[in-house]
Each structure stands twice: as structure tokens, then as C-alpha cells.
């Protein structure tokens, strides 16, 4: 449980950090995944660049119709932000489900997103929110959608030398209801299955449905077939059941000690129904 020797830098500016990263160093944010991996010597970086002391990388700011969340914003800050709780409650609710108090105090949104654990919580919400992720390299910056960002297990659209600089989520106006429902892996607290739902109604019809799913397969994904099936409906219990079943349809599900593929698929359906019902109930 002792990592190999490594060099450690804690630059104060983003440019300085990006310069070191361009030379092959590895970024360290909250360290909630990387440090345990290093202690088990599953990850052996030679040079760590701690992003924690960079000014102005931890923030939650509203700008027009979106909210910008800086990469080193902790889960606790997301969970307890009055701005997010009021205007993008799905992200705050999802953050509240991550790990335990200590993890939420240390772990960051940028670190979690960049790590792309297939059982992490944020990716489900970011899919449902159609979030944008700003990637910054030494020379340039680009924006990718959450859908394009999560490529595979522990694999993202990040290129070498790039970091997640910011996550952009929408301001959800009136008529929107959201919910994140999760089955906890009892030992680790990761999601065996997590379903994030975001619904909008016009009149009594559902005009928009977004469903993000994590834990079920190799990457977080949007259940688009289910989304389409719900749009234009009122959301009766029967409709919810039918739509929830679509969430797991055709998914190549993970299987491990804690849940077989069959059980995961079943749980995805159950928790999708719970999330859909909860989101509908929350539409103001």
C-alpha cells in the first residue's frame, strides 16, 4: 500500500500545469481514484501534477442559460451549491450519492469525469443533462459533449496532455423534473446501476426526456430509445414501466461478484422506473 517514488509538482497556474502535462506528467485532482491505484501499484506515474493549487479552477458560475463548473470543484461543493440545487438539481443530487463524506470532500468533478469509471455517478447525470465538457491542452481548448466524451471503460476523448477544465450544464427552467436513482455496490459505494432522468412537460405531455445510465455497461450512455418512447406521453405508471424496460434493452451488461448481468439489467429497469416516477413527481 505504498506507491512507487514519483515526482510531485503543484503549480499555481493552469499554463504551468499544462506545460508539465505536455511533458508526460499525469494530473492529480482529488486523488480519490488515482492515489488508491498508486498505493496498490496498479498505476505508477513518474510525475504527478497536482491541480489543487491552481487558482480559479474551482467554481460554480451561472452564465445565461448554463452553469459552468470548474474542474477541481469538489463533489461536496456541487452537492451543497444553492445555485446548482436550485437551477440544476440533478447534478447536485447525483453528487450527493458519490462515495462517502470523505470522498465528497476531496474528490472533484473533473477528476471523476476524466477517470471515466464505468460505475461512477456523474456520467449518468452528465449524459441526461447533455453536458458539455471543456478539454484544455497546452496549445488549445475544445468542447465535447458528454455523449462523445465517455468512450469506453476508463477511456475518454481526452488526448495526452489535455485535462478536463470545466463542465457545462444547463439551467433547468420551470416544467423540468429530474432524479438520480442508484443501486449502491455495498462495499465500494459505486453504482451497480445508476439512472439519471430529466423530464420536461408541456401541458400534460412530456415534451423532453433524457435518460443517462451508468454502471450497467462499459460506459455511461443515454437510453435514447426509451427517451423517444416517453416523449409525447403523459407518463402513466404503465408507460413508465414500458419505458423503463427499454432502458436495459439490448445492453451488453457488466457482470461481477456483486451483480450478474441479468440482475443488473433487471435493476436498471427497476431503478429507471423509480427515477422516471420521481422526476415526473418533481416537475413544478
Amino acid at each position: 500500500m505504498i506507491p512507487q517514488q514519483f515526482e510531485y509538482s503543484a503549480p499555481k497556474t493552469l499554463d504551468e500545469a499544462l506545460g508539465l502535462l505536455a511533458e508526460g506528467a499525469r494530473p492529480l485532482a482529488g486523488g480519490m481514484s488515482l492515489i488508491p491505484m498508486m498505493k496498490l501499484r496498479l498505476a505508477n506515474p513518474e510525475h504527478l501534477v497536482d491541480l489543487g493549487r491552481i487558482k480559479d479552477l474551482s467554481y460554480i458560475r451561472e452564465q445565461g442559460t448554463v452553469i459552468h463548473v470548474g474542474a477541481t470543484t469538489t463533489h461536496h461543493d456541487v452537492e451543497s451549491s444553492p445555485l446548482l440545487r436550485g437551477k440544476c438539481p440533478l447534478l447536485a443530487e447525483t453528487a450527493s450519492y458519490i462515495g462517502d463524506v470523505q470522498v465528497r470532500n476531496m474528490g472533484t468533478i473533473g477528476g471523476s469525469v476524466a477517470h471515466a469509471d464505468p460505475s461512477a455517478d456523474y456520467p449518468a447525470a452528465l449524459q441526461a443533462l447533455e453536458a458539455k465538457i471543456i478539454l484544455r491542452g497546452a496549445k488549445s481548448e475544445r468542447t465535447v459533449t458528454a455523449e462523445d466524451f465517455f468512450v469506453d471503460t476508463f477511456t475518454t476523448a481526452l488526448e495526452p496532455g489535455e485535462i478536463v477544465r470545466e463542465v457545462i450544464v444547463p439551467v433547468d427552467g420551470d416544467g423540468t423534473g429530474t432524479s438520480y436513482q442508484k443501486v449502491l455496490q455495498p462495499a465500494s459505494g459505486f453504482a451497480i446501476v445508476g439512472v439519471a432522468v430529466r423530464l420536461r412537460k408541456s401541458g400534460d405531455k412530456i415534451s423532453m426526456a433524457r435518460i443517462g445510465v451508468t454502471g450497467l455497461s462499459n460506459r455511461a450512455f443515454r437510453a435514447k430509445e426509451a427517451e423517444k418512447a416517453l416523449e409525447g406521453r403523459t407518463g402513466t405508471p404503465a408507460e413508465i414501466q414500458a419505458v423503463a424496460a427499454l432502458v436495459a434493452k439490448g445492453v451488453d451488461a457488466n457482470s461481477d461478484l456483486h451483480a450478474s448481468a441479468d440482475y443488473r439489467l433487471h435493476l436498471a429497469t427497476v431503478y429507471a422506473a423509480r427515477a422516471l416516477a420521481a422526476a415526473l413527481g418533481r416537475i413544478a
Binding site: 500500500m1 505504498i2 512507487q4 501499484r41 455495498p186 462495499a187 461478484l257 440482475y263 433487471h266
Partner: protein, 778 residues
């Protein structure tokens, strides 16, 4: 600051007094092994086998030795003279594998120590270990005891191809006749899965050899410092009187720190080789793979009864997963299960056969309850199954078969003598607390609604206060020394080695009451062999019942001496010691405790035939074990959609005899119940077919945590034991023993409408969901 009161306060025993050891623990000022630092101290890191079974072709340590900061690297060949890791348990025909401190030509389990690197700091030591190149010839392994016993299985030890370490048979009464005369026989295979004890503090050792004095100082996180001293001194050929073992603050043990481990021998050996103090702190990963595991039973039960529910006999075939090696008690643990297999029931006829199976896994040994949780789980499941078969209420069948109050002391078919009991009292109390009849009505209503509500009972008995010396491998007595200092303050030295059980508080309560001094005038010291005359240690719920009794008798000796000095000072022949003073029964004149203490040490004058000073030591040998008992009642509801188990109510009624401190007893019950629920619902050590521990870290091994616990409604009945004058029986393991059958019985009851008769632990949601889905389709 600290003021000396030395006055009689109100009676201390029986009060909810907060633990006096807690301030240092919760302020982070306690000293654990890893807090010990010495000038010139080196650090050891152990390279361990990644394979469960392999021959070692060669080991290349050259790169590790060349690393800057590395002082030495040792492999198995170097440590041949360091002796073998000891096992104190013995059984007829037992095959004992030689357990070297470092592997010599083969490894037998993942985590088997292969080499040790000693360096100036722990980081360099670990880097050095990574540089050692071991050429393994990997063999197939066997990690399941039933598979190990099947023909053609991989031989864990090549010299014993059947993987059988021992066969053990015990019987009492006439079990063949009982089964021939039975109206009903119920059979069931019951698994008590392997568990990992997971104390909060891992193990750790600091060894400090002083060649000039030929003294060894060994600081180790242990439950039994004197046993470690005797064994390691003997193994290394050192002088016992110059060998000091200190158990500093120990952050939990649960039985996994009774053993004398390879690292304790190895570190002492290294310190002698290098003439330097050396530290080794076990990593959590090592703790998972290399410290002992618990349970690991596959039990085949048969219970025979009359149609009216009278139990006639029990047969048991017990397969014990021993692991690859023995630690101090490994082969003895399943024999405790056999002793307790009748439970609280009269059961006149029993027969048991144990097969001890070697596997390429960590050794099993004592883990909180040690053999009794397995036995209780077995009998309490079987009684429930029998009740179901006979369509009797599970409470009724228990009440019918309990040993009756007038039958104590009750000789069991397994050769024990149950001291005393009122077995129906806790069960009836638990049922009253739960309003049992109303609960059954609620359950009927829930079933109509399609809900899976269960009510589970467990009436447990346990064997505690280990124990009479002839029945234990290393002596079962305990010692206490009490000193009244010249100031009048009192110091207690105890041979037990508490590490969370709170005896610094309860022993101060006993002392305060006996001597008539305040609790703050008493200091309880333990865990240092240079300070305490000798002791056996803390395990088997023995500390208060045996160590507390030794203290009680030492206090009686000391009181007699105090009275002599009191009488001398009062110039009286008839005095009473009470309220912190000696009073002349005729004149009413009195002399305070402080004055008496001062006089005893100043010794200007002495009572006839009396030595100066106020010190008494007592070694107490118990005449019998104690047998606590109790009943737990658990209400559960299984979610039909997901298989999740919700514990709606948890009622624990424990009878541990007299209660010295209800707060501490509550804590012991709560912790034990948490671990018992942990086994019932979540915990399991899972090895794959290659002998790799799949649940080798907290990411996969589910420890119960506070937010996963139900509210525990705790209550007691009090049946004092006649075995000791305190009337205390022991409560350290009660919760783990009562909890797992109560929870499993409850969930089986919940799913009985689906035809479920038995479930093996842990009751994972997926396991239950599959049964519910299958039941719904059928």
C-alpha cells in the same frame, strides 16, 4: 488538575460509566505500534507470493540489495534457524505442516511471505521488495474445502495428497437409537462462509534487540503478549526473562491477534541480525490475505425429533476449511462448534465428525465467536427447519426443548456442564418486546398484500470465560496484581490484554467498590510483560469473568492487609473497611485510606506477622466455563422487486450474568450484532479457483457500516453464574453468535411462502431476487 479523592463514592459496579480509555482514543493521542519510533530504526517490507501454489525455482535479490537505503534482504534459506510459526492446538493424528517464517522452496497461498527487505524507510523497503525477482513454477491450486477433499484434487502439501489434516469424532448418548426412534428427521447442508476479521488497526511489530544486555523488546499488536513472549523466546532460543513484549494500544483484534505470527518471529530475528530496531506495519492488503480468516464451515446436519417437537438427537458432519497452514488455534476451532452443537436444548444424543481440509488459502482461526457462531447458526437453523416440518411455531419448539431451570448444572451430550440458566426468559422477553402475536398477524396481513415479511428467532448459548486450564491449550487461569501506592492511589496490573473491551473502566469499578476509593484513584495497566507478572490474554469472552475474578481475589487479600494496618493505627482488634476508611467497630473512630497507605510504606510500626507495603497478586483458576445465553428476534422485509433485505426491528435480549457496566455491555452487543449481520447479509471471503482472493480489499469486501445498521433494541435478563464470585459470564461475542441465525431465520421465514426452507449466507439481494423471480414464475 488531577485531584486525589481517595474517598468512598457511590457504588460503581452496575453504573453506566463512560470508558476511561476513550479520551486518548478519540483525541488521537493513544500510542499504537506504528506510533513507536526509535533512533536508528529500520523498516521491513515483505515480498509475498502472488500465487496460491508454486515451487520457487530461484530468487534473485541482487537488485534489491543494490538499492540505496536497503540494509539487508533475507529469504527463506536465511531464516531456517528462526524456527516455525507455532500451533498450540493438538488433536489425535493431527498433520501439522511445518510453517516457516519465510517460504523456502514452495508457496502455499497468495500472500505467503517469500522475502523481506530492510531499509532506512518504509518506502525504500517497499521499492526494494518490488525489485526482487522470484522464478515461480506455478501449480494448480485448490481454494474450496469440499473440492480439496474430492479425489484428484491438487495436494496443498504434497506429502498429504488427500488434503486431510485430521478426522475428529465425538459422540454422546446413543444417536443411532435416537434416529431409529424418530418420527421425523430433517437434513440440511449449511455453510458458514469464510470471513475476514478486519480490525481497524492492522498488525504491526517493532523489534529492538539490545545485544549488550541480551534483551529483546518486542512491541506488537497482539491480544496475548505473554504468550507471544513465551513462544517467540522459545522459537528463537532467547531468555524469557530478558524478553519483553509490549502490546501498546491495540486497535481491535476479534481473535485475529491471539496468534503468534511469522512477522513477530521474523522481526525479532532481523533485529538480532542487524543489531538495530526494526519496524513492520502490515498493509491493509496484507491484512486481507495474510492475517487469519474466520469461519469456513460446510456443515451437514441431521436432526431427529418426535412428532411433538421433542429433539432426540443431532448428527453433524463438519468440513472445516483450515487454509494452508495452522496458526495458534486453527485445528481446535471446529471442536468448539461440536461442543456447542446441542445449543440450549436438552438433546441427549449427538454424533459429530469433523474433517479438517487443507486449502491454498489463509489459515482460519478464532474470529469473534470462534466456532460458536457456526454451531449456533447450525442448531438454530435446524430447529427452525424442524419447526417448519412439524408446522410448529419456532418459539414453541424452542421453549419445549430448552434445558429446564431445575436441571442446572446440566451435563450436555458433548461433555460440558452448563453452569446455570433460565433459557426461556430472554426468548419470552424478546417476544414481549416485539409483541410476537401481533407481529404474526401483521405478517399474515403483509403476505396477503404480496409482501415478504419475516420474523426470525434465535436462542443462542455460548461457552465463555476460557477456561479451566485442562481444557485450554495454554492455561486458562488469569492473574491480577493490585498495588496501593504510598499516596493511597491504586494501581491494577492485569494479565488480560484489553483492546476495546473497556476493562480499564470495569476493573476500576470493581476495585473502587472493593477498596472504597473513587474510580479516578484507580489506574488499570496491562499489556507489558515487564510489568505484569504473567497473563493469558484477552479472547473467548474471558477477560472480566476470569481476569476480573483474579482481580477480585487479589483485592480480598489486599483488603485483609489494609484492615491489619487500620486496626494497628486504631489500636483496635475489630475494624471494618468501608467508605474509604477503616472504622473501629467499638469506638466508631476511623482512619482514612491515605493514612493507612502511608503507614504501610513508612513502616514505623508493623502489625504482627505483617510485611511493609500494600501489594497483592492472585492467580485464579476457574472451575468451569461460563455459558451465557440469550434470544434475538429480527423482523425483516425482503423487497420483491430487488431482493433487498430491510431489517425492520432488531431485538437482542442477552443474559451475560451480572452486568458491571451496562454502557460497555451495550457497546459489545452492538458491535457483535453488526458483525453478525455482516456475515448474514454481506461479508464473504471469496477465492477464485486459482486461489486468488477476489474480495481482497474494502472495495469488494463489504464491511457493515453505521448507516447499514438497524436500531438495536437491547435488553437483558440476569442469571448470575456460580462459577465466579462476580457472577459475570462474558458478553464480547454474544452479538455475533445471536445475529446471523436470527437474520437468516427471519429472511427464510419471509420467503417461506415461496417454498424456501434454507438460505446460505450472505443473503445478497441477487440471491433473493432469483428465488423470488423463480417463485413468481412457478
Amino acid at each position: 488538575m488531577a485531584t486525589t479523592t481517595i474517598t468512598k463514592t457511590e457504588k460503581l459496579v452496575g453504573k453506566r460509566i463512560r470508558r476511561r480509555e476513550d479520551p486518548r482514543l478519540i483525541t488521537g493521542t493513544a500510542t499504537y505500534v506504528d506510533d513507536i519510533k526509535m533512533p536508528g530504526m529500520l523498516y521491513a517490507a515483505i515480498l509475498r507470493s502472488p500465487h496460491a501454489a508454486a515451487k520457487i525455482r530461484s530468487i534473485d535479490i541482487s537488485k534489491a540489495k543494490a538499492l540505496k537505503g536497503v540494509h539487508a534482504v533475507f529469504v527463506g534459506e536465511d531464516t531456517k534457524d528462526a524456527g516455525a510459526v507455532p500451533c498450540a492446538a493438538s488433536l489425535p493424528g493431527l498433520r501439522v505442516p511445518h510453517h516457516n517464517v519465510l517460504a523456502i522452496d514452495r508457496v502455499y497461498l497468495v500472500g505467503h511471505p517469500v522475502a523481506v527487505v530492510v531499509a532506512t524507510d518504509r518506502y525504500i523497503a517497499r521499492d526494494g521488495a518490488e525489485l526482487i525477482e522470484v522464478d515461480y513454477e506455478v501449480e494448480s491450486a485448490v481454494a474450496d474445502p469440499e473440492k480439496a477433499l474430492a479425489p484428484g484434487a491438487h495436494a496443498v502439501h504434497p506429502q498429504w495428497p488427500d488434503n486431510v489434516a485430521f478426522n475428529f469424532h465425538q459422540e454422546g448418548g446413543d444417536v443411532a437409537k435416537a434416529f431409529a426412534e424418530a418420527d421425523v428427521i430433517v437434513k440440511q447442508r449449511i455453510v458458514s462462509q469464510r470471513l475476514i476479521p478486519n480490525s481497524m488497526e492492522t498488525r504491526g511489530v517493532v523489534a529492538d534487540w539490545r545485544a549488550a544486555d541480551r534483551t529483546m523488546n518486542l512491541y506488537t499488536s497482539t491480544q496475548a503478549p505473554h504468550l507471544v513472549r513465551s513462544l517467540v523466546a522459545q522459537i528463537l532460543g532467547l531468555e524469557e526473562n530478558r524478553f519483553r513484549v509490549v502490546a501498546p494500544e491495540v486497535g481491535g483484534g476479534f481473535g485475529a491477534k491471539i496468534q503468534t505470527y511469522a512477522e513477530e518471529i521474523l522481526l525479532a530475528w532481523i533485529s538480532m541480525k542487524l543489531q538495530k530496531p526494526v519496524k513492520w506495519i502490515e498493509s491493509r492488503r496484507e491484512n486481507f490475505t495474510c492475517t487469519i480468516h474466520g469461519r469456513g464451515h460446510v456443515d451437514f446436519y441431521e436432526i431427529a425429533a418426535k412428532r411433538d417437537g421433542t429433539i432426540l438427537g443431532i448428527k453433524l458432519k463438519l468440513i472445516q476449511d483450515l487454509g494452508a497452514y495452522f496458526t495458534i488455534l486453527t485445528p481446535g476451532i471446529p471442536t468448539l462448534s461440536v461442543l456447542m452443537m446441542p445449543g440450549l436444548y436438552r438433546t441427549p444424543n449427538i454424533s459429530a465428525d469433523i474433517v479438517g481440509a487443507f486449502t491454498n488459502c489463509s489459515p482460519t482461526d478464532a474470529y469473534r465467536g470462534a466456532g460458536r457462531p457456526e454451531a449456533t447458526h447450525g442448531i438454530e437453523r435446524m430447529v427452525d427447519m424442524l419447526a417448519a416440518e412439524l408446522k410448529m411455531d419456532p418459539a414453541e419448539i424452542r421453549l419445549k426443548n430448552f434445558v429446564r431451570n431445575e436441571e442446572f448444572p446440566f451435563p450436555t451430550a458433548t461433555g460440558l456442564v452448563y453452569d446455570t440458566g433460565d433459557y426461556s426468559a430472554p426468548l419470552k422477553k424478546a417476544m414481549d418486546m416485539a409483541d410476537y402475536d401481533k407481529l404474526r398477524k401483521e405478517q399474515a396481513e403483509a403476505r396477503k398484500q404480496g409482501r415478504y415479511m419475516g420474523i426470525g428467532l434465535c436462542a443462542y448459548g455460548e461457552i465463555c470465560a476460557f477456561g479451566p486450564s485442562p481444557a485450554t491449550p495454554a492455561g486458562g487461569w488469569e492473574s491480577a496484581t493490585v498495588k496501593i501506592e504510598p499516596s493511597g492511589q491504586v494501581t491494577v496490573l492485569t494479565g488480560i490484554s484489553p483492546h476495546g473491551q473497556g476493562e480499564e473502566t470495569t476493573f476500576a469499578q470493581i476495585t473502587g467498590d472493593e477498596l472504597g476509593v473513587g474510580i479516578d484513584d484507580v489506574l488499570v495497566l496491562h499489556g507489558d510483560t515487564s510489568m505484569v507478572p504473567y497473563g493469558i490474554g484477552t479472547f473467548g469472552s474471558r477477560s472480566t469473568a476470569v481476569g476480573g475474578t483474579a482481580l477480585y481475589y487479589a483485592l480480598q487479600d489486599l483488603k485483609a492487609k489494609v484492615k491489619k494496618f487500620g486496626a494497628m493505627l486504631l489500636e483496635s482488634e475489630d475494624v471494618t473497611l468501608a467508605g474509604g476508611k477503616c472504622t473501629d467497630n467499638k469506638t466508631g473512630k476511623s482512619v482514612g485510606f491515605k493514612e493507612i497507605a502511608a503507614a504501610a510504606y513508612r513502616a514505623m510500626k508493623l502489625p504482627p506477622n505483617t510485611e511493609p507495603g500494600l501489594v497483592a497478586t492472585h492467580f485464579w483458576e476457574p472451575s468451569n466455563f461460563t455459558f451465557p445465553f440469550g434470544a434475538h428476534l429480527v423482523v425483516t422485509e425482503v423487497n420483491g422487486e430487488t431482493g433487498d433485505v430491510a431489517i425492520k426491528r432488531y431485538i437482542a435480549v442477552d443474559d451475560c450474568g451480572n452486568i458491571l457496566n451496562p454502557l460497555i455491555v451495550d457497546g459489545q452487543v452492538h458491535g457483535g450484532v453488526a458483525q453478525g449481520i455482516g456475515q448474514a447479509l454481506w461479508e464473504q471471503a471469496v477465492y477464485d479457483d486459482n486461489g486468488q482472493l477476489v474480495t481482497g480489499e474494502f472495495m469488494d469486501y463489504t464491511m457493515p457500516r453505521a448507516h447499514m445498521m438497524p436500531w438495536i433494541e437491547s435488553a437483558h435478563t440476569v442469571t448470575p453464574t456460580p462459577v465466579n464470585p462476580l457472577g459475570v459470564k462474558g458478553v464480547g461475542e454474544a452479538g455475533t453468535i445471536g445475529a446471523s441465525p436470527a437474520v437468516v431465520n427471519s429472511v427464510v421465514d419471509a420467503l417461506s411462502t415461496l417454498g424456501v426452507k434454507h438460505l446460505d449466507m450472505p443473503l445478497t439481494p441477487e440471491k433473493l431476487w432469483k428465488l423470488i423471480s423463480a417463485g413468481r414464475q412457478a
